[in-house]
Symmetry: C2
């Protein structure tokens, strides 16, 4: 693969990391760029990724790798906006619909929110999949359309264009088929390259931990959070991370249209307590880091309808009808309490996999999802129930899916004498002060 | 890549080794076979190879992996021969022409020697490249031609056909471009899958160590030797390994025709002492392990011309003319002693790289080599020299190569007061007794 015009050979870079050496800045710049250009082959990059996964990267290597991925594409710029920009990213969880109420809420309180989002894969849902259950709503906007929605509404939620960090897109697809996903340096650089390329001035990260999260171990979640905060700060983006619970589903709905319904409830001043609490906490973090103080408190913006106004305007600006009835699945099945008692546990992973199997998620990129499919929850850990009372309703358009969804739930919930210990909603906050991550 | 008809997904196998688990027998059988069939992609196999390189394989995994590679192709069978078969493999060294005199010698002493060999890549030469400097000699024989030469001469040296361990051929090419060559389990299984598929009843391994060897560290060389002996024994092949010195070139010639000339000198009862000693030692090991005792001693077969008779017959049987003059390079340049004294050192790697750069070796598979190119040595460590006396003659058809060859030699030899410490020619012998490798 090495030709006289290339400064390195792929094997040199692979061998350096394989032998536990530091990869130099010029090597990192070259290997990411050469991979994007097709000079470094997939089989060479996957060997390097496995060496990175097993031997790690130091903070400078991770930062340079991230920068190289940003440099592979365009970098958006929102300096023409009058208001400071604030963005949020979640590592993904079961029932995590927070972006939906959060973006209009933060806009209503004074920041611009250019929220570029993704689709779901596996047991965690994708923000775009959820919003696409709204009749007419379009995820794919040109940069010009994105700017127009941002200027008129103060918030936009749309798909990240192909021009942002193309190296990351190629690497992400490769990691998926080569067992090289579970590396903190690679996860952190993938997320942060996209977020930094999106051009936000400040960023709040919601790093999930617990059974339903990608990082089930809180210590690994903290490490991921610290790594991402370092990367943001190094790139000049004000960044803070919360480590939050994903041992139990967020809220009472898991599934695309079901989660939109719940998000609208929150915007209307209602909604489940945990969703409201996390939405408000993240909104306050975003406003603080964007330097907005003394304005309207997010709790008031939910009560007075101003967040709902932004939501409706934003949905309309992207072709959606905020008043259209949401899709409902054709078939339902109930899960009933098998005894009197309290809900002892309700495992996020089990519910996430059940919703996925019901048709709310996809197994392969490009697969269609069912808008109405998912799980509606009626009782959460600590709630008292009577035998025969519905605990969950499963929704799907394809009733042959019920059996495997019920299998996923088997052992994932129980009624007992008392509630099992669970995580606090917010486990940790990692920010940077004078360049120190803490 | 996983389809309903495949028992595993590639990512499962990769993740098992990545997470330091043992890969099960069915997984190994499947992944090697599926890679050969193109179901497992190059980028998946290279990630697995890197995980194997960094996390290792246990003896059962290595043995199963080897067997799976053997099963990917045909396995030769020499049971129709009247005499026991003995084969030898060297891991490659500078000036290592031992196969040339050894094969006819062992045949002259009573064993059949089906010696399937390779071409050179990098600074170590290939047996087939050397023999091809003999006018008319053909390396590529059908299985039937191979058998005919073996029956008429008792020895054959030819190219391994494409039908032997095709999985290894594909893996070898992949490892070369993905930085996954330097793994003892992968090296051992690659060598042994070919050797076992070649169908020999007994095998003597010459594992080189020192600067000019692939395994410069003697401890790693011993580990490779032990691993290969275990694999041979597990597959029912009587196997013994010698660990031998490659800190200084073997003999006094490095290069294709130059090494044929020296081999013929050995067969004529002369030749450099180290080449003769290693040839005799390996011949005695091969005869012993093949169960041949009380026959002609190899030293006598060199003296009485019987080994030379087999050589001439074997070369003729493969279309070569043993009496034809060997090619001589068009240009020569001498390296002279810069002072009076003794040769303190003569580094194998430096001389190997010099010969390679002069045109004796290739940088890419398929490249042509120069028959006459190489290095002729006149003084070895311990020899007394006078200032201005020739130490080496460099040979090439392309004189613009002299400068870079001289660069490679710079610092690779010196004249001083006394000889630097050097390795004994034979460092270790690893055999198996009652299933124990020792």
């Amino acid at each position: 693969m090495n030709t006289t015009t290339e400064p390195f050979a792929a094997v040199e870079v692979i061998a350096a990391k394989r032998d536990r050496n530091v990869i130099s800045d010029p090597m990192i710049d070259w290997v990411v760029d050469a991979y994007t250009r097709g000079i470094v082959a997939d089989e060479q990059m996957s060997a390097l990724l496995m060496a990175i996964l097993l031997n790690g990267m130091n903070p400078n290597e991770i930062s340079r790798w991230t920068q190289a991925m940003i440099n592979s594409g365009e970098r958006l710029n929102w300096s023409m906006l009058k208001r400071p920009t604030a963005d949020k990213h979640s590592t993904g969880g079961v029932g995590d619909k927070i972006t939906l109420p959060l973006s209009p809420l933060v806009s209503a309180c004074g920041a611009s929110v250019p929220q570029l989002s993704g689709r779901g894969l596996g047991h965690t849902g994708g923000t775009l999949d959820k919003l696409e259950s709204i009749s007419g709503w379009r995820a794919d906007l040109s940069n010009q359309e994105m700017l127009a929605v941002l200027e008129s509404c103060g918030a936009v939620i749309c798909a990240a264009g192909a021009g942002l960090a193309p190296a990351d897109k190629k690497l992400y697809a490769l990691r998926d088929v080569t067992g090289t996903v579970e590396s903190i340096p690679l996860i952190a650089s993938s997320i942060m390259s996209k977020k930094i390329a999106e051009g936000t001035g400040s960023l709040v990260l919601d790093v999930k931990t617990g059974s339903g999260a990608f990082m089930s171990d809180p210590e690994r979640a903290r490490e991921l959070a610290r790594t991402m905060v370092q990367l943001g700060v190094a790139a000049g983006v004000k960044t803070v991370a919360l480590v939050t619970a994903m041992d139990v589903p967020l809220g009472l709905t898991v599934g695309n249209a079901l989660e939109v319904r719940e998000s609208v409830e929150v915007l209307a001043g209602g909604g489940p307590a945990d969703v409201v609490e996390l939405t408000l906490t993240l909104a306050r973090e975003m406003l603080a880091i964007a330097g907005i103080s003394g304005g309207k408190d997010p709790a008031d913006a939910l009560k007075d309808g101003s967040a709902m106004d932004v939501w409706r305007k934003m949905i309309k600006a992207q072709g959606g009808d905020p008043d259209a009835a949401l899709p409902v699945a054709a078939h339902q099945e109930q899960v009933l309490a098998d005894r009197d008692g309290v809900i002892a546990n309700l495992d996020a992973l089990s519910v996430g996999v059940a919703a996925w199997r019901l048709g709310a998620g996809r197994s392969r990129q490009g697969e269609r999802v069912q808008a109405g499919a998912g799980v509606e929850i009626f009782a959460k850990p600590g709630d008292t129930v009577k035998k025969g009372q519905p605990i969950m309703t499963l929704h799907t358009d394809t009733p042959e899916r019920f059996a495997r969804a019920l299998e996923a739930l088997d052992g994932g919930w129980s009624v007992g004498e008392k509630t099992a210990p669970r995580m606090p909603l917010i486990l940790d906050r990692i920010g940077s002060q004078d360049g120190h991550i803490n």
